[in-house]
């Protein structure tokens, strides 16, 4: 499995973590990443509102609040969005046609819960600067490749 890039956004759409896992990627300026994350946050909010199915029954079947855009696929990449119940969004970019990315998202969420949320020096909603998190994430995604 090739994971190209990972974004983590807080519940207000701010980019709190970004990392590329592949060296040959086109990189944007730091500001562009922030704009990208903010834009996605808005699009995601819209897609969860234009849901044509009645929200209440939908929530009953799948649990939790109605979810918006989850997968976007283009010729060059596949983007999977995983939103937690607390509103954190994990955006995982992989190669197109990649199956089981949701499993990877769950695992990344687990690593986040362990190494970010259990770290007493991390301030909630703020950018993630935790060595242990970087290390465990690298270990997990390198093992996948």
């Amino acid at each position: 499995m090739v994971v190209l890039s990972l974004f983590i956004m807080n519940k207000s759409g701010g980019l709190i973590y970004h990392r590329n896992f592949n060296s040959g990627l086109q990189s944007l300026s730091a500001n562009d990443y922030l704009v990208l994350a903010g834009t996605f946050h808005g699009v995601h909010a819209i897609t969860s509102l234009i849901n044509p199915v009645n929200n209440t029954t939908e929530a009953g079947i799948r649990g939790g609040p109605p979810r918006g855009l989850e997968v976007m696929e283009s010729e060059m990449f596949r983007m999977q969005c995983f939103q937690t119940l607390t509103g954190i969004k994990f955006l995982v970019f992989t190669e197109p046609g990649q199956p089981n990315v949701d499993v990877v998202c769950k695992k990344i969420y687990e690593i986040y819960a362990d190494y970010v949320m259990k770290n007493p020096f991390y301030q909630i909603e703020m950018p993630i600067r935790c060595e242990q998190f970087d290390r465990e994430l690298g270990k997990f995604l390198k093992g996948k490749q």
Binding site: D114, Y115, K118, N119, P120, F121, Y122, R129, C130, E131, Q132, F133, R135
Partner: protein
């Protein structure tokens, strides 16, 4: 005279019994929330943690996640009340000291008749790296070394301290190591065995073990004097 007075008392109560019974029925209604709040301290069978047998928790395991959250809160609490990194380490050390004092008592009690009072430095340190470490962390310490340069310094190495599993020190905190808490535990145990000393935790970053921590134990001069005497007599 006495009986009469008690009779009068009873007679005064009787007319008031209907409101009194009403009062008790109200209090019984109010009881469920009261008992639920007190059940925080008293479990259903009315036995507190002090009524349990001391060996009960000997082989039981704790959730690492709940420990991590508790320890994280302890660090956060300490951080709010200190000025600098050294103060923070001192505070964590003090927290650990309180834990260590109680642990030594418990472990010596659990050893029962085979319990032995260590008189030599090496014996005490071995008790620490095996008995204390395994009961706390379910593994032995990774290394026990004596300093080459200084007579009074010993080192215990732990490649992955359990207390630091989920903790990343921010760059601006520099040399802080939250295993200062564990250093406090060590200090208390050695103090309790009457080996007064000073213990500090230092990170030794390596590629293989990024969390490796060395506990530096610096004994008081009188411990060394005693050790020399004991060494001469045998």
């Amino acid at each position: 005279m006495h009986r009469q007075s008690s009779e009068t008392v009873r007679s005064t109560i009787v007319p008031f019994s209907p409101p009194a019974s009403k009062h008790t029925s109200m209090s019984s209604l109010a009881q469920p929330p009261m008992s639920s709040s007190s059940s925080l301290r008293f479990p259903q069978n009315r036995k507190t943690i002090y009524d349990r047998h001391l060996n009960r928790s000997k082989t039981s395991e704790l959730s690492k996640a709940s420990f991590a959250f508790l320890f994280g809160e302890m660090v956060g609490y300490a951080q709010k009340r200190v000025a600098g990194i050294q103060d923070l380490e001192k505070k964590l050390n003090a927290h650990g000291y309180m834990v260590g004092q109680r642990l030594l008592e418990l472990y010596s009690w659990r050893e029962g008749r085979s319990a032995k009072r260590e008189t030599r430095i090496l014996g005490a340190l071995q008790f620490l790296t095996t008995t204390v470490w395994t009961s706390l962390f379910n593994k032995a310490a990774d290394a026990l070394e004596k300093s080459r340069e200084k007579e009074d310094e010993y080192m215990i190495a732990d490649n992955e301290p359990v207390v630091n599993t989920y903790i990343s020190i921010p760059k601006e905190m520099g040399t802080l190591n939250c295993a200062a808490f564990q250093a406090g535990v060590i200090e208390a145990v050695l103090d309790g065995c009457s080996f007064p000393c000073n213990v500090t935790a230092h990170s030794v970053v390596s590629e293989q073990f990024p969390q490796k921590t060395i506990f530096l134990i610096k004994f008081d001069q009188k411990v060394l004097d005693r050790e020399a005497q004991l060494g001469a007599s045998t």
